[in-house]
Symmetry: C2
Subunit: 354 residues, 2 copies
């Protein structure tokens, strides 16, 4: 039957017949300094009124809001798991994430359409005084562009899957080189010597794709007698099916294809189906990420299982420790998380060794 909606500390203090200061101290646990009896009265009053500290006040007093801005959309199961790791880790430290992503998820490329827009989004978060920010590649670009203005806010930023020449933030990535070697070994061990790679668009926001492809190329060509050739999608990423088709019908006549993510692997499946090529009898296909649909494909896709949940946890831990330290950093760190080859049924021995 309380008439005022939200009880103030003043109400508690009055009810317990103590000063606001005393009430504040007692409710913060500073109980040694007060008479048992006083403490009881205050605690009881607070309970009865249902008083809860206004965390916003803490925010303006300490400069810490215990919130972290998270600029990652649930693009696919990889990013969803990353988000899961972030949320869990943040939650365990009693931090809350504030997430921003607008636009229909079906048209994800929009997320990188406009660095100006990205900057505005980052600014909105900063206006809310988030203690730190975690972002995926497209926003990292916007951040990089506006770094001079943003740096003065001294808000730690951790970026996932995005590396640049002059890093302006801590970074967490998958250990691409190591994974590439494992894939190359798997393919070469099966006897494949004509190898294709289908990459994604390799836009600025996809430095991971660039690195993944080149790491793979290096690892494969380290073995002398291999022919290999790489393809990539167009600017908008709309021609996956065509590129896959082109690749399979190329004069190289590849017996194995490495797709930079499972998404591209799906295009290869599609094209192979159209061409009447059997997987893995005619063509071996290997993906990357182990997205939720990979095991369901027919045949089940051989791929590299990244550790998105771990990436999320690691990323969150990194921001939290940067927040903790509170110092402006100049030497940004890079954490590399391993990934594991998962051999399923889309890869098999090369029939010919022409």
């Amino acid at each position: 039957m309380a008439s005022s909606s939200v009880p103030r500390l003043k109400d508690v203090a009055e009810k317990a017949k103590v000063s606001v200061g005393a009430a504040s101290r007692i409710l913060r646990g500073d109980q040694d300094r007060f008479a048992q009896d006083t403490c009881d009265r205050v605690l009881e009053a607070a309970r009865e009124l249902g008083w809860r500290r206004n965390l916003l006040v803490n925010g303006i007093q300490t400069g810490r809001t215990q919130t972290v801005g998270v600029l990652i959309p649930p693009y696919d199961s990889f990013w969803v798991s990353i988000l899961s790791g972030i949320h869990t880790r943040l939650s365990s430290a009693d931090y809350l994430p504030i997430t921003v992503w607008s636009g229909d998820l079906k048209h994800m490329p929009h997320f990188e359409a406009d660095n100006q827009e990205g900057f505005r989004t980052i600014t909105r978060l900063l206006d809310r005084r988030v203690d730190g920010i975690i972002m995926w590649p497209p926003f990292s670009l916007a951040y990089h562009d506006h770094f001079p203005e943003l740096r003065e806010r001294r808000v730690p930023v951790v970026v996932i899957d995005h590396r640049t020449e002059n890093p302006v933030a801590d970074t967490v990535v998958t250990n691409e080189a190591k994974a590439a070697k494992a894939i190359a070994k798997h393919i070469l061990d099966l006897g494949h010597r004509r190898v294709a790679c289908i990459s994604s668009r390799e836009t600025l926001a996809q430095s991971w794709a660039l690195e993944r492809r080149t790491s793979f190329e290096e690892a494969v060509t380290a073995c002398g007698d291999v022919e290999m050739k790489s393809w990539r999608l167009n600017e908008t990423g709309s021609n996956g099916a065509e590129v896959a088709y082109e690749l399979l019908t190329d004069s190289l006549k590849p017996s194995a294809v490495f797709a930079v993510t499972d998404h591209e692997a799906a295009f290869v499946y599609e094209a192979a189906h159209k061409l009447g090529l059997k997987i893995p009898e005619d063509i071996s296909v290997i993906g990357f990420a182990d997205l939720d649909f990979a095991a369901q494909m027919s045949p089940p896709l051989t791929t590299v299982r990244q550790r998105p949940y771990e990436i999320g946890v690691e990323t969150a831990s990194l921001v939290l420790s940067r927040i903790e330290t509170g110092e402006a950093v100049s030497d940004f760190s890079t954490s590399k998380i391993d990934a594991d080859l998962v051999v399923r049924e889309s890869t098999g021995p090369a029939k010919d060794r022409a």
Copy 2:
């Protein structure tokens, strides 16, 4: 080269040689009352210092933080699209979502393990003074349980896909009855007369499943000469494959199965495959939701496409308008969003009409 990290209004005022009050008014756009020259100085100073209003202060002064708590995990593509709709709508009103979900997404049932935990989560949001809350069913249960304590906070709550006898919040749901009729009509038109339904667990948090199944049963049995029987999963939802198997081998010998979501439909596919039953030749299967994998199944699944993005937008609009109005509501509303039958290849004519 600013030495102090974040500029205060005081700094701006000093730089522009005006009082803090004047600076505040000018920066809020109250420029008519001030000399053009003064305005320019203040605006310029603010720009140079990179001053940005501390939104937390607004929060404590007005009692409005322009944030909405969102208790929805990205469980599957249905919920992801809902989140997308919510984020977009909220963003357009310059509100920001604060999302909470912990626990590994792989073990989603945890979300409903503990209403006490759910209550604590809601409380954490409230402590941050969110202006409103949107939640999915498992949290709705926690909210319902603790409604008496929570009501005093006067924070509007909108619940998705959860209906109870005594609603304690506005609700947005799919128009189950209408969808059920469309499905029933489709199945009956194809000549099926022995119909099975596989529901989910139908826990308290799955009132939608209960309603969906019963709506379907009603719609089907409205046609006189039909035999129908329903199954549902066990408490933990772990026996989908077995239930599907059981259903297909039941003495009913159903020629069509309606699965309460595409997830259950996938179990039916699996069981049919094991039994050597062809879809749709031997058994027609129809799902619900049109999840991201539905069109990829073989054969592509006939299902009901819900409108999650629209549900998200509608839900967000509802909280926003409740926040706007600011009054405690007693007559909670229920919005029903339509869903559309998508006929693909998993349903076909009944061969026999025994």
